[in-house]
């Protein structure tokens, strides 16, 4: 009896270990591509051969996406994604979208997408966990408040010290608030953008900080009687950039960088930006 009892759990672990037998990744080992030939559609290291699988969060917000539908090619990031796909030789029908929550986009291990496009700012710390493409958009953070609010006429960050500020969790907006506004009361951090917007509507916060294109969308479409108080100056001189998120060590990054580089030099990227983020210019910079 005693013997059987000791063997059973050991056996159970062995069976479990065999069941989840270590499977080596084979996708991440390919050499990084540099030449045009290496970026031929057939030789790309894809999750599903012949299909470009792109991830983004749901809901997908304006003006980055339109109608919460990434597949329609409308909105800045959807348009960029399809432009990149075209450069790599994919037809629209060969692009597949996948819903990937922000938190799971950087989970370790194999990913379900070839790349994720979700307004993710590139940073050194984050690059330890994932691979970033080159930046496709330089982003500024902006402060949005109500027109009849206490801080509507603020012209500098110093005037915002006493404001109750709301931000969305996981965004670099929070870092911008902490580093540049340094408010007296701790900022309120919400699960998603809609919660932050509602908190401003309900006057639970005096202002919210979002990236500039979002700020234009918030003031134009989401909250009546709101205004952009101003944009925050870039911290430390280096502009914040959005990049495509790839599985750590993904060999696809070289080809994506090449595609983005071509889109940039041909002016296509600027055209897409003008089309979808045109309003995002001319907000006063807070000093």
């Amino acid at each position: 009896m005693l013997r059987r009892l000791t063997v059973l759990p050991v056996l159970a672990v062995l069976v479990a270990a065999a069941a989840c037998a270590p499977a080596d990744d084979t996708t991440a080992a390919a050499p990084s591509a540099s030449g045009t030939a290496a970026c031929a559609k057939e030789s790309l290291p894809l999750k599903t051969a012949g299909t470009l699988t792109i991830g983004t969060d749901k809901p997908a917000y304006e003006p980055w996406f339109s109608d919460d539908d990434p597949t329609n090619g409308k909105g800045f990031e959807s348009a960029v994604a399809y432009a990149v796909a075209e450069k790599l030789g994919f037809a629209e029908t060969e692009v597949k979208w996948e819903t990937v929550g922000f938190d799971s986009s950087y989970a370790p291990g194999p990913k379900t997408f070839d790349f994720d496009i979700n307004q993710v700012s590139i940073s050194e710390a984050r690059a330890k966990a994932v691979t970033f493409s080159a930046g496709y958009y330089d982003v500024a953070q902006a402060v949005v408040g109500l027109e009849d609010g206490k801080f509507a006429s603020a012209t500098g960050v110093a005037a915002l010290k006493d404001a109750k500020i709301g931000v969305q969790v996981g965004t670099t907006s929070l870092t911008a608030v902490q580093d540049q506004i340094k408010p007296g009361t701790q900022p309120q951090v919400f699960n998603n953008q809609i919660d932050a917007v509602n908190a401003l509507k309900n006057k639970q916060v005096d202002a919210i900080v979002v990236d500039l294109p979002t700020a234009f969308y918030v003031t134009a479409a989401q909250i009546e009687g709101s205004k952009i108080i101003g944009q925050l100056p870039a911290a430390g001189g280096t502009p914040e950039r959005f990049g495509l998120v790839l599985e750590k060590g993904s060999a696809l990054v070289g080809c994506l960088d090449q595609a983005l580089g071509e889109l940039r030099s041909s002016g296509d990227l600027a055209k897409i930006q003008d089309q979808w983020l045109a309003a995002a210019a001319g907000a006063p910079v807070l000093r």
Binding site: A107, P108, R126, V130, Q188
Partner: protein, 285 residues
């Protein structure tokens, strides 16, 4: 005389003890070997998996742990505050609702109906939904005098939710007191409220202490739900650090703090249960 009759263990007793010691040593050794074997294999399976270096880096990074722990700890203090404020209010609400359900006077029927509706509705709504509804709904009403602090709104939501659970626990406790107790108290000349106050409730409450503590362990963890209202508590603080560095270790730091808080409560519950058992059946082990 005393030296001559010094009691000594018989040979048979010595032999018996020797055998018992040997058995104890053997089962101890087997238990140790089995434990080492099972955990060793589990660790080996984990560490030898191809993804382990990345998992270690993203979940068990010491530098991330050290870097975020201070912030997570200060966030955790908010959880503790929420718990300490909500806890006594929940006890009062729960007991009041349980008593309201027991009122038999016909004139007070609306009160009883209200109590039943309260437990039915608020036990049915997921706590996180309730936190959302109260936290964003009440300020949207634009009532003057309504609380606007997310912390206060969060506490209200938790009290509404847990009050319903605790009310049912109290009701079960009251129902567990044998009817003869009430009859005896009434026959001694106590009024119904007096009988309830001095005879039924003391017994009922003693019975339900372990399930009550169970609910409180649950409440301790659910204080993290208040994060959705913008409050920066332990979970949210961990999420912020995690999003900043794409590393999950801060979540582990938060989990550790919650465990450290609930474990003493669990041991306390065990101790209370053991004590109650000793009192009920002394010497019967």
């Amino acid at each position: 005389m005393s030296t001559a009759t010094t009691w000594a263990k018989s040979d048979r007793q010595r032999e018996r003890e020797r055998l018992r010691r040997r058995d104890a040593r053997r089962s101890g050794a087997v238990a140790t070997a089995s434990t080492v074997g099972v955990f060793g294999l589990a660790v080996w399976a984990l560490v030898s998996s191809p993804g382990w270096p990345r998992v270690r880096e993203t979940f068990f990074s010491w530098s991330e742990f050290a870097g975020s722990f201070g912030d997570v700890l200060s966030g955790f203090w908010v959880n503790v505050q929420i718990f300490l404020i909500a806890e006594p209010i929940i006890l009062v609400v729960g007991l009041a609702v349980a008593l309201a359900r027991g009122v038999r006077t016909p004139a007070f029927f609306p009160l009883r109906a209200l109590a039943v509706a309260y437990t039915d509705v608020f036990r049915g709504i997921p706590t996180i939904l309730l936190v959302y509804l109260v936290g964003f709904g009440v300020p949207a009403l634009n009532l003057s005098g309504a609380p606007s602090s997310p912390l206060a709104l969060g506490v209200i939501a938790l009290v509404l939710s847990y009050g319903a659970y605790v009310a049912e626990v109290f009701r079960a406790g009251i129902a567990s007191v044998h009817p003869s107790q009430l009859a005896a108290a009434r026959s001694l000349g106590l009024s119904r409220p007096q009988a309830l106050r001095y005879v039924v409730l003391p017994q009922a409450i003693r019975t339900v202490v372990p399930p009550l503590l169970n609910d409180f362990a649950s409440l301790q963890k659910d204080t993290a739900l208040v994060a959705v209202l913008g409050v920066i508590e332990a979970l949210r603080q961990a999420q912020i650090h995690s999003a900043l560095t794409f590393n999950y270790t801060p979540y582990l730091a938060a989990a550790l703090l919650f465990v450290l808080l609930t474990v003493p409560l669990a041991r306390f519950t065990d101790w209370l249960a053991a004590r109650a058992e000793r009192r009920r059946a002394p010497g019967d082990r």
